[in-house]
């Protein structure tokens, strides 16, 4: 019997960034699932709108102020998020720390304004189906905001305390991917909650 041929993988990288890594697939799976949840919730919003004579039934759409401020903050948070991901791919620990802390500060600001948003929706979830679906949309998005915030806190603390190794930078990069999703999901939700009742009453 002849000796079998072999493929030696001993010097292959032990982690990789982007779609090469398993973590990327997990993140994208999560995004596909959660994106479907958002899409179906928005469809439900329009379905209920089709059942109603007036939209909103009370005539008063949500106040624009806090929702719009939040849209600006959220879009701006894309900047530190981008730099945190780039720094992670360079494995530049100092920059990663800096940009992740910046992301966290913005996430805190966002959550404070979000609390104010809930108080100026001009409806309540018990009032009617319109109120229920508006609260549901905002609550769904807020859940993602809070969970991603906690995620980022834990990861940031780890960046300061260790134990660190290369693949933790992949975690930072995937955390940034997920934030892009939370950010992108907000745009149709903002449009639905704030603009639809104004543009198509």
């Amino acid at each position: 019997m002849t000796a079998r041929s072999t493929i030696d993988v001993s010097r292959l990288p032990t982690y990789a960034f982007g779609h090469r890594s398993l973590m990327w697939w997990a993140t994208m799976g999560m995004i596909a699932i959660e994106g479907t949840v958002f899409a179906i919730a928005i469809v439900a919003y329009f379905y209920l709108r089709g059942q109603s004579e007036a939209w909103p039934p009370s005539g008063a759409p949500p106040d624009l102020l806090f929702g719009t401020i939040n849209t600006v903050i959220l879009l701006a948070s894309g900047i530190p998020n981008h730099f945190a991901a780039r720094a992670a791919e360079r494995e530049d620990l100092r920059s990663v720390r800096l940009w992740m802390v910046t992301c966290l500060v913005m996430a805190v600001a966002f959550q404070v304004v979000r609390a104010l948003e809930f108080t100026t929706l001009n409806t309540h979830w018990t009032a009617n189906a319109y109120g229920s679906i508006v609260f549901a949309l905002l609550a769904l998005h807020t859940t993602h905001l809070v969970t991603d915030f906690i995620d980022t806190v834990v990861l940031t603390v780890l960046m300061f305390t260790g134990p660190l190794n290369g693949r933790r930078f992949v975690d930072v990069s995937e955390n940034a991917d997920y934030w892009w999703f939370v950010l992108a999901a907000w745009i149709p939700i903002y449009f639905t909650i704030y603009l639809v009742p104004r543009l198509f009453p």
Partner: protein, 640 residues
């Protein structure tokens, strides 16, 4: 113990049992758990059949009967049919693609524990006489705050949350494992058809399950905190429930059925001793079924008064799905017809049973797909007959074929062929005796979900016949159970490849070692074990001081990098307990979502937080992407 064995071994004792992340231990446990739920839900059916055996029977009252069919349907769909397919896949797929574990082993453990706790919750509340009562699709307003008092429908809604999270976790595992962890050389065009079927199923799960989670969340908030989603008095709409439910519910049928198609495509070529006919056509058919299945949901709602144009569209789509299914059936028939020395062993018998039963179910499906006929037969026993023909014929028969086929791999023991034949014939005959009369009962006008009927209806004889059939099925299941127990106690181990099959799971011992393969094989065909020279080559140099797997490229499966998988841990188990407390708590108070989230958060952080000693070991074998890139390119060139 070699370093490889040491690295992949679990801790001994109960701690090892609770903290294992081995896909085989979890997968086997998962399969057994789903079978226990299958047996329990089957016993509920037996009680229903006893009740219906005679007219004007008072063995069980209407309230208990409502719970019986609701828990039976809910358990069969959410605790058996979908999860058993994923469970089998979580066991088999890493073996079939030639790797050492699933992509996210701790998440796998979490998904299992969550499923177990959710399922136990359903049967505990049933035992306490507070089981769900509004049917497996739990329509509002019957399940809403006005008509379903107490906590029954809330438990149903949370059961959905438990099982769907578990199913979604399984789907992500399967997609990632199949796409990124295949042995070198196993291009997408060489992936076993069962793996293809599970990938397709997993994508369906990802896009279908969120709908029912959202629907049941809306329901529980309507009931608990007075949202108005389904309340017509306040702008809500009851049909919203039906849309959301069936947007999930129809793909669900295919989520159950497509894995079974994959099993058939593994079993049938093995016993026909030839490659499956039309591999590419099979894959295309699977993908087509998946797409079409999302365009069918309204055929469950033909009697709700939707616009006729929509109806026509859904009628067309419902009938169209018969095409890809038919294509597969013809490919299998061609495989059998051109096979060499076809061996009619027990696994193949079940597959042939599938052909007969499923084709009848498929034909009644085409009938029900037509709006006119559906309006007549809606909510009658004809529908009960149809759905059992497609689900038992389409999924349970192939599944049992799968049990007989893969049992030696899972346990290292062969099941008795003789008992297998008894099992098959009793099941096949019992099934038809139990369910065929229901077609006639439905045509005669017997509505489903009635706890009794009057003797004047003339339905008694057929119902009695059906009950006799049901008990014949029960006997066949008993034969299966005895067969399993006797086989496990028998001495003599099954060989690696008792059926002389072609796929990679048969290349390792039965049952496989913790690390699955001592060396990862390189393959160059769809039927690697039937090649003259297997393996083509072997992978060496995977570090063995930590659990590592080879990650390959999506399309051509060329080596890309080495991934270090997480080690066994108690955290997924603890996180599942914390999640269970939160979900069950939320049935009683909405605040449970707030305080219940704290332990969930703590356990998840504990799960993620890296262990110092392990992190150091990781560092010791670390090769940065920049350092390893040259080697990736060199390997790619050497292989091509």
């Amino acid at each position: 113990m070699s370093p490889l064995e040491q690295t992949w071994a679990d801790k001994p004792g109960i701690l090892g049992w609770l903290s294992t992340v081995d896909h085989k231990r979890i997968g086997l446990r998962f399969v057994v758990t789903t079978l226990v739920f299958f047996a329990l839900a089957g016993q509920l059916a037996a009680v229903m059949r006893l009740q219906l055996a005679r007219a004007d029977n008072h063995l069980v009252g209407p309230d208990l009967y409502n719970q019986l069919f609701s828990v039976h349907g809910t358990a069969m769909m959410f605790l058996f049919a979908v999860p058993v397919m994923e469970a089998v896949a979580l066991y088999l797929i890493p073996l079939m693609v030639g790797t050492r574990n699933v992509a996210f082993p701790r998440l796998n453990a979490y998904g299992y524990w969550l499923f177990l706790f959710g399922g136990v919750m359903l049967f505990v509340v049933f035992a306490l006489n507070i089981g769900p009562e509004a049917g497996w699709f739990n329509y509002v307003p019957l399940s809403g705050p006005e008509f379903s008092a107490g906590k029954r429908s809330d438990f149903w809604a949370q059961l959905i949350t438990f099982t769907e999270i578990s199913a979604l976790i399984g789907a992500i595992q399967i997609i990632t494992t199949a796409f990124k962890m295949r042995a070198p050389g196993m291009t997408l065009a060489r992936m076993p058809l069962f793996v293809w079927a599970m990938v397709v199923t997993s994508f369906m799960i990802v896009f279908a399950m969120p709908s029912v989670m959202l629907a049941s969340t809306f329901l529980i908030t309507d009931r608990l905190v007075s949202t108005q989603f389904y309340n017509p008095a306040e702008g809500g709409d009851v049909l919203l429930w039906q849309h959301l439910f069936w947007f999930f519910g129809h793909p669900e049928v295919y989520i159950i059925f497509v894995p079974a198609l994959g099993m058939i495509s593994e079993i049938l070529p093995t016993f026909a001793r030839r490659r499956v006919v039309g591999y590419v056509a099979m894959v295309v058919a699977l993908v087509t079924i998946a797409f079409l299945s999302f365009g069918l949901w309204v055929h469950h709602m033909f009697t709700t008064g939707l616009p006729p144009l929509g109806m026509s569209f859904f009628t067309a789509a419902s009938i169209m799905i018969a095409l890809p299914t038919g294509l597969q059936i013809f490919c299998w028939i061609a495989t059998l017809a051109t096979g060499k020395r076809v061996q009619f062993a027990a696994p193949l018998l079940f597959v042939i049973g599938f052909f007969f039963i499923f084709i009848i179910g498929g034909l009644t499906g085409v009938m029900l797909g037509a709006t006119t006929l559906d309006s007549q037969l809606h909510d009658s026993y004809f529908v009960v007959a149809h759905l059992h023909y497609v689900l038992i014929g389409g999924a349970v028969f192939p599944l049992f074929g799968g049990f007989y086929y893969w049992f030696p791999k899972l346990t290292g023991r062969m099941l008795s062929e003789r008992a297998g034949r008894w099992n098959f014939w009793l099941f096949f005959v019992g099934f038809n005796v139990a369910f065929f009369p229901m077609h006639i009962l439905g045509l005669q006008g017997m509505p489903r979900r009635v706890y009794t009927y009057s003797a004047a209806s003339g339905w008694e004889n057929l119902n009695l016949l059906s009950t006799l059939g049901a008990f014949t099925i029960a006997v066949s299941m008993l034969v299966f159970l005895v067969n399993v127990v006797m086989s496990l106690r028998r001495a003599g181990r099954a060989p690696h490849n008792p059926w002389n099959a072609a796929t990679l799971e048969w290349a390792t011992s039965s049952p496989p070692p913790a690390y699955n393969f001592a060396t990862i094989p390189v393959v160059n065909s769809r039927t690697p074990l039937w090649e003259q020279k297997f393996p083509m080559a072997e992978v060496t140099g995977l570090p063995d001081i930590l659990p590592t797997v080879l990650v390959t490229r999506l399309h051509d499966a060329e080596p890309d990098h080495v991934a270090i998988l997480p080690t066994p841990s108690l955290w997924p188990f603890l996180a599942a307990i914390a999640t269970t407390v939160m979900f069950v708590g939320s049935v009683f108070t909405p605040w449970a979502v707030v305080w219940g989230a704290v332990p969930v958060g703590i356990t998840l952080i504990g799960w993620f937080w890296p262990d110092k000693e392990e992190a150091a070991r990781m560092l010791s074998i670390e090769v940065k992407p920049s350092e390893g890139e040259a080697r990736v390119v060199a390997l790619r060139e050497a292989l091509s």
